[in-house]
């Protein structure tokens, strides 16, 4: 086979490259630039090397936020993925009911983040909020502004309300693509509902579930707006997650150096986890390809 050297390809890639450079690479490099210098004014900067990184890694508040963030993302995944599958399985598959259900389920996804925060902030209030006052009337001592546990629960339920629909939609689309004959064959075999789920539905949803895990992980790890509106990170630091602490550093205290170092580390963590999920996803497909090639 002849490999033709065609330099035209570079020319065709150039516009995209320029776009990515402006939107991603240049801003990122600015942050890298900030993270290794101490900046006092426009022409007044000192190179400090890894100092900001060392400082930020020793930061106790950051440790707390990081721990909180990990627990939050883990809980989000542990609840939203199974719940999303369960809801997708129980939705009607055909007819008007199906369209109606899917529309209703999709509505939370259409609500802007800050609106979600505001809605829940009002909803969970004990004086005027429906949810909060209802809990009080049941005799449950609930107050998300003073009790860290209540605040956590509220933020978590808000995220579940907002994002489980995404998992539902992804799973539902896959379930719809399973031909009816599979279910018939399983019925004739006398397979139980669990076996049908385990051997027909779950394998079909596997790829889309990895995608859902990836999306939900990244998004929950970056969560900012909703808790900011709902609790403002409080009570104390109870619901201060990474991005909110970062904002405090950068905008609140104007510690641009440490904030930039923090941003880089934050970025690398997300990149690492995404890479882990992505390789898990693609290695399986590659295995499949190799096996089919062997035949």
């Amino acid at each position: 086979m002849n490999k033709t050297k065609n330099q035209k390809a570079w020319l065709l890639v150039l516009p995209v490259f320029a776009l990515v450079a402006f939107s991603a690479i240049i801003p990122l490099m600015t942050v890298v630039n900030y993270s290794v210098q101490d900046i006092f004014g426009i022409d007044d900067r000192v190179f400090v090397g890894k100092e900001w990184y060392q400082e930020i890694l020793r930061d106790e508040v950051l440790h707390g936020a990081f721990k909180r963030q990990l627990i939050f993302s883990a809980l989000v995944l542990l609840i939203e993925i199974p719940l999303g599958i369960a809801v997708a399985l129980s939705l009607p598959r055909r007819g008007f009911g199906s369209s109606l259900a899917i529309t209703l389920v999709a509505i939370p996804l259409l609500v802007p983040w800050n609106v979600v925060g505001t809605v829940w902030q009002v909803f969970a209030r004990t004086d005027i909020g429906l949810g909060g006052s209802l809990l009080l009337s049941f005799g449950i001592d609930y107050n998300y502004t003073s009790n860290p546990f209540d605040a956590w629960i509220t933020v978590l339920i808000m995220d579940i309300w907002h994002w489980t629909s995404l998992v539902v939609l992804l799973c539902f689309a896959r379930l719809q693509s399973i031909p009816n004959v599979y279910y018939q064959a399983a019925r004739i075999d006398g397979a139980s509902l669990w076996s049908i789920f385990r051997f027909i539905q779950l394998p079909k949803m596997k790829e889309v579930l990895l995608l859902a895990v990836l999306l939900r992980f990244i998004d929950s790890f970056l969560i900012y707006t909703e808790p900011f509106v709902l609790t403002g990170g409080g009570p104390g630091n109870a619901t201060t997650f990474l991005s909110q602490y970062l904002t405090q550093l950068a905008v609140g205290q104007f510690d641009l150096g440490p904030a930039a170092a923090f941003s880089i580390i934050y970025f690398l963590i997300i990149l690492l986890f995404s890479w882990l999920f992505f390789t898990a996803l693609t290695s399986q497909q590659e295995e499949k390809l190799e096996k089919t090639r062997e035949n």
Binding site: Q184, A185, R187, D189, G190, S195, I200, K204
Partner: protein, 388 residues
């Protein structure tokens, strides 16, 4: 087509199926069964009995209602009215899980994440048989279907024919009394279809089950050579032995459906006990009353007159010879199908043994055997005796 399954076809005929044979066998019977098609329209009510251990080929075009009928017979759908009995026992309201059935589909339906072994074993695992017994039976069936080398593979790693073999193995291993096959060969290429057809015939006969086999292919009823059910647009045209119906179709629709090689339909008119048709100026004595009729002549009965005396000698009741003009000729395997026309007949087909080069535009002389002609009245019902 030699496979490693024991026994020659001769053995199969003489040895009676060992399993399921008992005097209480009454087959599968339908009483006034109403079936709804996929559009929700009611098909005509059916009352029929399928004999025990019969191989029933259900022949019909797509949308004839074959699948709907099979689904109701199997118990996947409930009939809208009437009763269904398996061996005299009413199963109308019994769920499909508790019935003794197996089904094979046009699509190759297997569990994607399970290996071939696990797939074949799945019906037995549901029945909670011992591991050792499952192993013996899986290996036996895998051997019959030549899947023994692929037991560790996943279905997706097999060819289409092998995937369909796995689903047939899953149906066989259950040793169900009723096996339903819904166009099992439709998604396979020609060669695999031929191979698997022979295997299905061989294996299912040994199984001793009552088989229902839906197909659109008119060659299959005679191939399996047992019973045929002809269906058109949700109605049953005829049910009976495949050979019998091939020779004596009850109606024109059935004959056209069960048509390989193709059937020519010629218009005939009767006036004063004389029947004339559009192929020639012939007038033949008839018992029919005045009116219009349809004559159906299979393409292989349109005989080319090579040398007049020789061809006509073979025919019992020869028709008057007539000439037709060639418009097209197609070679099918080792046969040649000649498309012909004359002024009154747009297309007449003649099937001739051997590969022939036929010039388009040439005229050829033909005759047919009146004994092989089927006569139908205007509504398409067969008139068995029409020659005086």
């Amino acid at each position: 087509m030699k496979n490693n399954s024991p026994g020659s076809p001769v053995d199969i005929k003489t040895t009676k199926p060992a399993t399921n044979a008992s005097k209480t066998d009454k087959g599968l019977s339908l009483t006034e069964v109403g079936i709804k098609n996929s559009a929700g329209r009611e098909m005509t009510k059916l009352s029929l009995t399928f004999p025990p251990r019969s191989f029933n080929v259900i022949l019909g075009r797509s949308n004839a209602g074959k699948t709907n009928l099979m689904r109701v017979l199997a118990g996947l759908d409930k009939p809208s009215s009437g009763r269904i009995q398996y061996d005299g026992i009413d199963v109308t309201s019994q769920s499909v899980r508790s019935r003794d059935i197996a089904m094979v589909y046009q699509e190759f339906i297997n569990y994607p994440t399970l290996t071939v072994y696990e797939n074949i074993a799945s019906p037995l695992r549901v029945k909670k048989l011992s591991k050792q017994e499952i192993k013996t039976r899986v290996e036996h069936v895998a051997n019959l279907l030549r899947l023994d080398k692929f037991l560790d593979r996943k279905p997706k790693e097999l060819s289409g024919g092998q995937q369909q073999r796995v689903s047939i193995a899953r149906a066989l291993i259950k040793e169900a009394k009723y096996i339903f096959l819904n166009e099992p060969l439709a998604n396979l290429d020609y060669k695999l279809r031929e191979e698997l057809r022979i295997e299905i015939k061989d294996l299912l006969r040994k199984q001793g089950a009552t088989v229902f086999y839906a197909t659109t292919d008119p060659i299959e009823p005679l191939f399996f050579d047992d019973y045929i059910l002809l269906m058109k647009k949700g109605t049953i045209l005829q049910y009976g032995k495949a050979r019998e119906i091939y020779k004596n179709p009850a109606n024109l629709d059935g004959m056209l459906l069960y048509h390989d090689p193709p059937v020519n339909v010629i218009t005939a008119t009767v006036k004063a006990k004389r029947l004339s048709h559009t192929l020639s100026a012939e007038k033949i004595k008839t018992t029919l009353s005045d009116g219009t009729y349809k004559l159906a002549i299979r393409a292989q009965h349109m005989t080319v007159i090579a040398s007049r005396s020789k061809s006509i000698k073979l025919i019992v009741t020869p028709s008057k010879p007539f000439s037709l003009k060639v418009t097209l000729s197609e070679v099918r395997g080792s046969q040649t199908l000649i498309h012909l026309e004359n002024k009154t007949n747009p297309t007449v087909l003649s099937l001739v043994t051997g590969v022939h080069l036929v010039n388009i535009g040439a005229t050829i002389d033909f005759c047919f055997d009146w004994d092989k002609v089927c006569c139908f009245d205007e509504t398409g019902q067969r008139i068995s005796q029409f020659l005086a």
